[in-house]
C-alpha cells in the first residue's frame, strides 16, 4: 500500500513527515500560520442559532475532530466549510483565501459524506473519476489517478462494480477514494465510520490515520463518537450548543477537561460537588457533602475560597477494596449496589452514605471468580491526589 503511493507533491509529504517527527506540533508553536482559520462564525436558521460565534485555527496536516452530540452544530460547521451553507456572519479562510461567496464546486475542499453519497448509477471507477472529469483532465491521466487511488484503498479489483454490490466497508473506502482523488487541501469527513460495525471501525480508524499521514492532507472530522475522536484526532474540539467548549489534544481532553460538560461527555466520570476550603500552592482541599469528607486534589487552579466546584474522578482511576487502605486522604466508604462483568473489566456501582452513586471500573486481572467483589459488600473507595480534577464550570 505504502510502496505504490507516489501521489504528488511528494516533496511536501516528506517535509510534512519530518516536521511531525522532529518538531513539536504546529499548534504549540508561537506564530505558526494556521491552514484553516475560522473567524467568529455564526450560523442562524431563523431564530435558532446552530453555530454561535466560533473561532478556530486548524494547522496543516492536522487531523482535527469536531466532537459533539446531535444538534451541537458540528455538522453545520462542516457544511459551511464545504460551502453548502453560508455563514450568517464571520469568515472562513482556507490557505489564505477567504471562502466568502465561493461556491462548493470551486473550493479546494472535498467532503466524505456520512451516507457516503456514492452515485448508484455509476461504477466504482466512475464514481472516483467523477471529480477528476469535472476538472477537464485528459482521459489517460484520469484513468491513471483513479487506478492509483483505488489501489491505495485496496479496491483495485472491484472497479467495475456498482456501489450496491459492495459491502459497507468497501463503500466507505470508495467514498474516501472519491474525496481524496482530487487532492484537496482540506478533507472534511462527516461521521466517516458511523455506518461500520465495531471491528471494521477499528481497522478503518488506523487506515485513515495512515492515509492522512501519507498524503499530508488536512482532515477535519465530525463525529459524535468519543472513542473515534480519541483514536483519530491530533486535536479535538468538543462542541455543545453551537459553541466549542474545549479544544485540546485527546489526552488533555480526557485527563484535564475544562468543564463538567466535557468531563461527562467524554468517558464517564463521578462528580463530587463541594466548596473550596483551603487553596494550597499546588493543591486544593474541597469539602464535599457528596463524599462526606474533605477531598484533596493535586491541581493548581485559581479559585476563590468557598467557591463551589466539582471534583471529577474517572471510574478507572478509583481503587476499590474490602480492606481498609493505609491512605487516609481521599478514601470513602460505600456499599456495592450493582456489579457488571464486561470481560476485560468489571463495573461496580457503589452507594455512598450521602446517597451518591459512584461508578468504579477495575480490570479483571485474574480469572478467578472467588476473589471478586459482589452485591452488598462494604468497600472502601480511594484514589491518589493527582487522579482527580477540579472543575470550576
Amino acid at each position: 500500500m505504502t510502496s505504490t503511493l507516489t501521489i504528488e507533491p511528494q516533496s511536501e509529504i516528506v517535509a510534512a513527515a519530518s516536521v511531525k517527527t522532529s518538531k513539536m506540533p504546529l499548534w504549540k508553536q508561537e506564530g505558526a500560520e494556521p491552514f484553516l482559520r475560522i473567524e467568529n462564525i455564526t450560523k442562524k436558521f431563523g431564530e435558532f442559532t446552530a453555530v454561535d460565534n466560533i473561532s478556530l485555527d486548524i494547522y496543516k496536516n492536522e487531523l482535527f475532530c469536531l466532537l459533539g452530540g446531535s444538534g451541537s452544530g458540528k455538522s453545520t460547521l462542516l457544511r459551511m466549510l464545504a460551502g453548502f451553507e453560508s455563514p450568517t456572519s464571520g469568515r472562513i479562510i482556507i490557505d489564505g483565501v477567504d471562502m466568502a461567496g465561493i461556491q462548493p464546486w470551486k473550493r479546494p475542499v472535498n467532503m466524505m459524506f456520512q451516507s457516503y453519497a456514492l452515485f448508484p448509477h455509476l461504477s466504482v471507477e466512475e464514481n472516483v473519476a467523477f471529480g477528476l472529469k469535472r476538472e477537464g483532465l485528459d482521459r489517460s491521466e484520469v484513468k491513471q489517478r483513479v487506478a492509483k487511488m483505488l489501489d491505495m484503498v485496496q479496491l483495485g479489483h472491484l472497479g467495475k462494480r456498482k456501489p450496491n454490490q459492495l459491502s459497507g466497508g468497501q463503500r466507505q473506502r470508495v467514498a474516501l477514494a472519491r474525496s481524496l482523488v482530487k487532492r484537496p487541501k482540506l478533507l472534511l469527513l462527516d461521521e466517516p465510520l458511523g455506518a461500520l460495525d465495531k471491528k471494521l471501525r477499528e481497522e478503518t480508524q488506523f487506515e485513515l490515520i495512515n492515509i492522512q499521514e501519507e498524503l499530508g492532507v488536512t482532515f477535519v472530522v465530525v463525529t459524535h463518537d468519543q472513542e473515534e475522536a480519541m483514536t483519530l484526532a491530533s486535536r479535538i474540539g468538543v462542541m455543545n450548543h453551537g459553541v466549542i467548549v474545549q479544544t485540546a489534544e485527546p489526552h488533555d481532553v480526557y485527563e484535564y477537561p475544562n468543564s463538567r460538560f466535557v468531563a461527562e461527555f467524554i468517558g464517564s466520570v463521578n462528580l463530587f460537588e463541594g466548596r473550596v476550603v483551603e487553596d494550597l500552592p499546588d493543591s486544593v482541599k474541597i469539602d464535599s457533602k457528596d463524599a462526606g469528607k474533605i477531598l484533596h486534589v493535586y491541581h493548581g487552579i485559581s479559585c476563590a475560597p468557598n467557591q463551589k466546584v466539582h471534583v471529577a474522578l474517572r471510574p478507572e482511576k478509583t481503587h476499590i477494596s474490602k480492606e481498609k487502605p493505609e491512605q487516609q486522604e481521599n478514601c470513602i466508604k460505600g456499599v456495592i449496589e450493582e456489579t457488571a462483568y464486561m470481560g476485560s473489566l468489571s463495573v461496580y456501582r457503589v452507594r455512598l452514605a450521602s446517597g451518591m452513586e459512584v461508578r468504579v471500573t477495575q480490570p479483571n486481572t485474574t480469572r478467578e471468580l472467588g476473589a471478586r467483589l459482589t452485591w452488598n459488600d462494604e468497600v472502601y473507595l480511594y484514589w491518589d491526589i493527582d487522579s482527580s480534577v477540579v472543575l470550576t464550570s
Binding site: 464545504a82 453548502f84 461556491q103 462548493p104 464546486w105 470551486k106 475542499v109 472535498n110 467532503m111 459524506f113 456520512q114 451516507s115 453519497a117 456514492l118 452515485f119 448508484p120 448509477h121 467523477f130 471529480g131 469535472r134 476538472e135 456501489p163 450496491n164 472519491r178 474525496s179 482530487k182
Partner: protein, 272 residues
C-alpha cells in the same frame, strides 16, 4: 386461514371479471366471422384484414401515433422541469399555488379542458393569427398540457425520495448545477421519466374528448374515427381496431409500471 383465502380468491375473481369481461367480449368478437356484431359465426381474422385495407383508419392511426409521440416527448421535458422545480426549491412564494395548478388538469373534466383550450386557440388566432385554424398542432399542444401534469407528479414524487446528499456530493466534486442535473439527477430519475413518457403516450392515444374539441377538419385521431364509426352502427372492423388499441395501451402501461418498479429498486439500493 383456508376459508379466508377462499373469500379473497372469490373477491378477486369477481372484481377482475367485472373489470375485464367487457374487454374480453370485445377481443373475442373481433375474431368473429359473421358480419353481424351480435351473432357468433366462428373464428376468423377477416376483420383484421379489412382493417388494414381501410385507408381512413390507417391514416387516423398514424396521425394518433405521431401526435402521441410528439406530445409525450414534449410533456416529458416540460413535466420534468416542473417536477424538478416543485421538489427542489424548498420555499418560494407561490409554491403551493404552482403545485395545485400543476395537478389541476388531472382532476379537471376533459370537456372543460377541451372547451377552454378551444376558446384559447380561437382567441389567439383572432389576436395574432396563430394557430391558423385547428389541426395536428393544436391537438399536440392540448395533449402536452394535460400529459405534462402527469409527468410532473411522477417526477416530483421520485425526486423527493432521492437523497439530496448525492447532489451535494456532485457539487463538492466540482460539478456546476447545470452539469449536475444531467450527470447525476437525470440518470437517477430516468425510470420515472420513461414511465412518464409511456403514460403520456398512452393517454394521448386514448384521448377522444379533448381532441374532438381542438381538432380541425381532416385531422381525426383514431379514437375520433372509432367513435364516429360506432355512431353509425358497430362494425366488426371496429372491434378488431379496438383490440389492437388495447394491446398497445396494455404494453404502454405495463412498460410504465415496470419502469416505476425499477426506480423503486434503484432507490432502495441507494438507501441500503
Amino acid at each position: 386461514m383456508k376459508r379466508r383465502s377462499l373469500f379473497l380468491n372469490t373477491t378477486a375473481t369477481m372484481g377482475f371479471i367485472f373489470l375485464y369481461a367487457p374487454m374480453i367480449a370485445l377481443v373475442v368478437y373481433s375474431f368473429n366471422k359473421s358480419k353481424l356484431v351480435t351473432v357468433w359465426g366462428g373464428w376468423s381474422l377477416k376483420w383484421y384484414g379489412e382493417l388494414f385495407r381501410n385507408d381512413q383508419i390507417i391514416d387516423a392511426a398514424l396521425l394518433s401515433f405521431k401526435i402521441a409521440f410528439i406530445s409525450a416527448s414534449a410533456a416529458v421535458v416540460l413535466g420534468t422541469m416542473a417536477g424538478f422545480v416543485l421538489s427542489r426549491f424548498r420555499r418560494f412564494r407561490g409554491k403551493m399555488l404552482l403545485a395545485g395548478w400543476i395537478s389541476a388538469p388531472l382532476v379537471m373534466p376533459e370537456v372543460i379542458t377541451g372547451l377552454s383550450l378551444l376558446l384559447l386557440f380561437v382567441a389567439m388566432e383572432g389576436a395574432f393569427g396563430w394557430p391558423s385554424g385547428r389541426g395536428t398542432s393544436t391537438i399536440i399542444i392540448a395533449h402536452v398540457t394535460f400529459c405534462m401534469a402527469y409527468v410532473a407528479v411522477i417526477v416530483q414524487s421520485r425526486l423527493s425520495q432521492l437523497d439530496e446528499t448525492l447532489e451535494e456530493a456532485a457539487m463538492d466534486l466540482g460539478a456546476k448545477p447545470s452539469s449536475l442535473f444531467f450527470l447525476v439527477t437525470l440518470p437517477l430519475i430516468m425510470p420515472a421519466v420513461i414511465s412518464g413518457w409511456l403514460l403520456s403516450f398512452t393517454m394521448s392515444l386514448d384521448d377522444l374528448v379533448i381532441a374532438s374539441f381542438v381538432s380541425g377538419p381532416g385531422n381525426s385521431t383514431l379514437p375520433m374515427v372509432i367513435f364516429s364509426k360506432v355512431r353509425l352502427g358497430v362494425s366488426p372492423e371496429v372491434n378488431a381496431l379496438a383490440t389492437l388499441m388495447i394491446a398497445v395501451v396494455a404494453i404502454g402501461v405495463t412498460g410504465a409500471m415496470y419502469q416505476m418498479r425499477r426506480q423503486a429498486k434503484l432507490l432502495e439500493k441507494q438507501g441500503g
